[in-house]
Symmetry: C2
Amino acid sequence: MRRDVFQAIADPTRREILGMIAHKSLNINAVTEQFDVSRAAIYKHMKILSECGLLEIRQKGRERYCEGKFERLNEVSDWVAQYRQFWEARLDSLEDYLEQLKKEKYGKSSE
Amino acid sequence: MRRDVFQAIADPTRREILGMIAHKSLNINAVTEQFDVSRAAIYKHMKILSECGLLEIRQKGRERYCEGKFERLNEVSDWVAQYRQFWEARLDSLEDYLEQLKKEKYGKSSE
DNA sequence: TAAATTTGAAACCAAAAGGTTGCATAAATA
DNA sequence: TATTTATGCAACCTTTTGGTTTCAAATTTA
C-alpha cells in the first residue's frame, strides 16, 4: 500500500488529528472524543500517520501518548516551494512573514 | 466527491503532471505520452486538477493546452507553514533560501 | 481477584479512486 | 468528402480507503 506524506495529509481527519496533537500529546481515546467516528477508525488514521513518521508514540502504562513529528512535512514544503515562484510575486511579503515567525520563536516583545 | 487541493496533490501521477506543465503548456496527448497509462486515465487526472483550479485549459482548435495554475497551492503552503516552527529550527537557512529565490527571479548574475 | 479501561487488530462492508475499453463528436487534413 | 486526429465521457472493473463491529490482551483500579 502506498504510504507517503502527501497521501497521509490528504485526509481531512488526519490533518485535524495533527492539529490536535501539535501542542499537546494525547492518547488515542482523547483524540477519538473529538470526532464522530469510532476509536478503531481513529486508530487506523493514527497508524497511517505514525507509519509516515508524522507522529510518534510514547507508551505510558496502558495508554499511548501521540505527539506530532512535523519534520517530514518538509517534503511537502519543498515540493510546494518549487512552484512558489509561479504564484508568489511578492517575495517581500514572505520575508515579512519570516520576520514574524522569528519574533514568535525568539520571544514576543509586545502583546 | 471530495475535491480539494490536498487530495489533488496526493496522487503521484498528478504531481508529475503539474511538474510537466509548470514551464510549458501541453495538450492532453503530449502529457499522456509521458506515462504508461491510457489517455482516459490522464484525462481524468487533469480534470481533477482543473476542478481544483491547479490547471487551466486553453482551447486551440481541436487541441486543449493545459497550463499550471499554482496559486491554489498556497492553501497547502499555509497549512504546512503553521507547523514549520515545530521542525524548522534554523530559520536563517530559510532566509538563505529566500535570497536564492530572489536571485533566480530577479536575474542570475554569475553562472 | 474481579471489573473497568485502553489499546491492537482481524473480519467485514460500502464507497471512492484509478484504471480500462469503446464510442461519439469536432477539427484538421489528404 | 473521407480519413485522421484530439478530445469528452459513459460503462465497467479492481483495488484502496475509510468506516464498522467484535474480540483478545494488557494495565489499572475497586
